[in-house]
């Protein structure tokens, strides 16, 4: 029975997307059903994973070197859980958000289940080439979603996103080709044993794969496509993109680094990735602090927060592993809450320039609450999930004697506090009557409370970390 779960997780939303496409008009309720079912399936899968071995499905039954396998281990289950929770929230949020626009709504309700299926497929895949296909699926599902905010406004961002994403996946594919040339298989589980040592193509393949994933994941030198795309998309889409789509690339990096690439990469490469992450944290936070539009603040915050997950690579101990993954979870939920709250503000104001935020504390009290609570997790204050994640990373840095990452963690937290409080301060300022602009409708309770629920969940993640870390388990192949 449990073998069917991974298959269902991919194909229930996939078929739902196809059905929605054929239907030709928006049917939001169908998606609520699908995301609910998805959550139930993921919970079943997680309970199966936590009680025993990974759940594996052999597609086509052709056996090991040839067939594609779907596999759910602790890491995959956690990412699936994150996806499922966010899918429920975002699907609910999108009902009112897309209510007034019939045609974009149809596209959203078609693309979103397809993207959900793609994300599930990516987290479940155990095959290097299949991962390439799912990476493409995820980005090519995400880019049309960005366009939903209006093609004229978003075409530049979408084009830049597409160019980088395509380049990234082809660089990744080049690495995959070299790996196949050496190992003769694409199965992640067989690769570590099948890769010969001491070749030139091994490290080259690893470098190509890592570079490709970094481009897809918008890590610092390749981050330039991210703010425009995430900052201009509709709020529900921005939440998906920041919380899940870029994270999928980092997830892949974690998975490959601790799996097939482990014999190929050196400690220096880990330090390099850590340095990239640290630079991303400082640079992204600083940029977030300097932006004048709310959604760009949140988007640059994503650039920064992705950096924390890279701090795993130089340390590579179980505490760092748990910290990085937990940071992915906490950031995913908190960032989705931030984007949904920002979307509410944009919905009300019709724009998101920071000066315009004055005096919105009264009509948008709930959304601002969500923004503030999610901000707590982004800053890494207790008792939030962000705090737990940073605490784990901190202890890993002390454990490995690499104290310099501690300073980065602290500086990143302070900068995050800076840009979150900058927004909140403006929002609670009194509006001067002269500047009171034309306001749109106050977002409905569904829009306000989904954001708040996510923010509360981000806080609660700090309190319920034990079962989740239990599900994740030790670092694969790790000694400590």
């Amino acid at each position: 029975m449990t073998e069917a779960l991974p298959v269902l997780l991919v194909f229930v939303p996939f078929l739902a997307g196809l059905g929605q496409f054929v239907l030709g008009r928006a049917a939001p309720w169908c998606q609520q059903f699908v995301s609910g079912l998805n959550l139930i399936l993921v919970l079943l899968l997680s309970s199966a994973v936590v009680h025993g071995d990974p759940v594996i499905a052999d597609l086509g039954g052709w056996g090991e070197p040839l067939a594609i396998h779907l596999q759910a281990d602790g890491l995959a289950a956690l990412m699936l859980l994150l996806t499922a929770v966010l899918a429920v929230a975002v699907s609910l949020y999108a009902i009112p958000a897309f209510r007034d626009e019939p045609r974009p709504a149809w596209r959203f309700w078609t693309l979103w289940p397809l993207l959900l299926a793609s994300l599930n497929a990516l987290f479940l895949s155990r095959d290097l080439f299949n991962l390439y296909v799912t990476l493409e699926l995820v980005t090519l599902g995400a880019i049309p979603l960005v366009l939903l905010a209006g093609p004229n406004k978003t075409v530049d961002a979408a084009l830049r996103y597409l160019l980088f994403a395509l380049l990234g996946s082809l660089v990744y594919l080049a690495g995959v080709a070299l790996i196949y040339a050496q190992a003769g298989t694409l199965d992640l589980a067989l690769l570590p044993a099948a890769l010969p040592e001491g070749t030139l193509s091994g490290p080259l393949a690893a470098a190509l794969i890592i570079t490709g994933v970094l481009i897809k994941g918008a890590i610092l030198p390749f981050h330039i496509w991210l703010p425009a795309a995430h900052g201009n998309a509709p709020a529900a889409v921005s939440a998906i993109l920041s919380a899940l789509v870029v994270k999928a690339a980092i997830y892949l990096l974690l998975r490959l680094w601790t799996g097939p690439l482990e014999p190929l990469v050196s400690n220096d490469a880990g330090q390099l990735l850590g340095a990239l992450g640290a630079t991303a944290i400082l640079f992204g936070s600083w940029q977030a602090f300097r932006q004048s539009r709310l959604k760009l603040v949140v988007a640059y915050s994503t650039v920064a927060q992705l950096g924390y997950m890279l701090l795993f690579f130089p340390m590579a101990v179980t505490a760092a592993w748990q910290g990085a993954v937990y940071h992915g979870l906490a950031h995913g939920i908190a960032k989705a809450a931030l984007f949904l709250a920002a979307g509410n503000i944009l919905y009300y104001l019709g724009q998101d320039r920071l000066e315009a935020l004055r005096g919105i504390d009264r009509p948008l009290a709930v959304s601002l609450l969500a923004f503030g609570l999610a901000g707590v997790s982004i800053m890494g204050l207790p008792p939030s999930g962000g705090f737990t994640a940073k605490w784990l990373l901190l202890s890993a840095s002390l454990q490995t004697g690499q104290w310099w990452w501690t300073t980065v963690l602290i500086a990143g937290g302070l900068l995050a506090a800076g840009y979150i409080f900058r927004v909140l301060r403006l929002a609670f300022l009194q509006a001067d009557d002269a500047t009171a602009p034309h306001h749109g409708p106050v977002p409905g309770p569904l829009m306000a409370w989904t954001a708040t629920a996510l923010a509360l969940l981000a806080l609660a993640l700090g309190l319920i970390s034990a079962p989740l870390l239990d599900l994740l388990g030790e670092m694969p192949g790790g000694t400590s």
Binding site: A4, V7, L59, G61, P65, L66, T110, L140, T185, L200
Partner: protein, 309 residues
């Protein structure tokens, strides 16, 4: 023949360099198209006639038509080699150096890996009997690694939706029908043989080079020919049958994979006595969806209709 290979490789490199450095955009596009032709020839030399077919039809053919069509709609003079930024000279030099280094390392790596194990490939060839088709590539695509192909159909559908979102309102009467009747009448004349050869390629995929993608691309080419000569045009009305055909391949593929689980115990596994008819059915439905998707990626409209004479 080694000399032939060497010449082909040399020409490939020349054209690639030209494509990157050409002064005008059209030159770059033309270099790219000719590169596609030569690439297809190289693949013939490298024992990959299926892929040569695919590259000729999709990579050089359809993509070339799309590139030229896009070029025509760009404002005059766009895409010229831009005036360099002040720092660009040194940046270019650094990029060039980096890429040369990468090329050397890549070539060495590729050279090094010319001998090695290929467990998956050996397994694929060994199990070919059970796959229901005789052509190894088709067997991998539709059976051994059918999941990849299915997800690829998802990619096709999502890019199609994205392309349709970028559509501008159609202007009636803006159709620039060819000024001469020759292309139209010849297109009418040659539609049946092209359609036939497309269908033949789909059918032949089971035992010789060809398959859903190549055949679908030829069928799409026939459609593009009709659109280019003005016999067929895009319309704003998207209708249910068309949408059904667009998802036909993916839907049939998924459903047959799911519904047969009770019989086989595995997702996307096919029982022995059904495998060949199923493969053919899936191949044809995939080809229809692929042909329509590629065609609509070309017209960029949600619907198609015949032009009234």
């Amino acid at each position: 023949m080694t000399l032939l290979d060497g010449l082909l490789a040399l020409l490939l490199l020349l054209l690639a360099g030209r494509c990157v450095t050409a002064a005008s955009l059209l030159q770059a596009i033309v270099a790219f198209i000719v590169l596609g032709l030569l690439l297809a020839l190289s693949w013939v030399r490298l024992e990959a006639p299926d892929l040569a077919l695919a590259e000729a039809a999709i990579g050089a053919g359809l993509l070339g038509v799309l590139l030229l069509g896009t070029w025509r709609r760009l404002p005059a003079g766009s895409g010229e080699q831009e005036t360099p930024w002040p720092w660009q000279g040194s940046a270019q030099a650094i990029a060039a150096l980096g890429c040369v280094a990468l090329a050397v390392v890549l070539a060495l790596a590729l050279h090094e890996t010319t001998l090695g194990p290929a467990a998956a490939g050996t397994a694929a060839l060994a199990q070919l009997e059970a796959a229901g088709v005789d052509q190894p590539v088709t067997a991998v695509l539709l059976n051994f690694r059918a999941y990849d192909t299915l997800l690829e159909m998802g990619v096709l559908l999502m890019t199609l939706i994205g392309t349709l979102m970028l559509r501008r309102p159609l202007q009636d009467g803006a159709l620039a029908a060819p000024a001469t009747p020759l292309p139209q009448s010849l297109a009418r004349l040659f539609l049946p043989p092209i359609l036939l050869s497309g269908l033949y390629l789909v059918w032949a995929g089971a035992y010789s080079p060809g398959g859903a993608f190549q055949g679908g691309a030829v069928l799409a080419g026939a459609g593009v020919m009709l659109a280019l000569t003005g016999l067929l045009r895009g319309s704003t009305r998207d209708d249910l049958p068309l949408r059904c055909l667009l998802v036909l391949g993916a839907a049939l593929f998924t459903l047959s994979g799911v519904l047969l689980i009770p019989l086989t115990g595995h997702f996307m596994a096919y029982p022995d006595d059904l495998v060949t008819p199923l493969m053919v059915l899936i191949e044809f439905s995939l080809a229809i969806s692929i042909a329509l998707s590629l065609m609509m990626l070309f017209t960029g409209t949600p619907g198609l209709c015949r032009t009234r004479p």
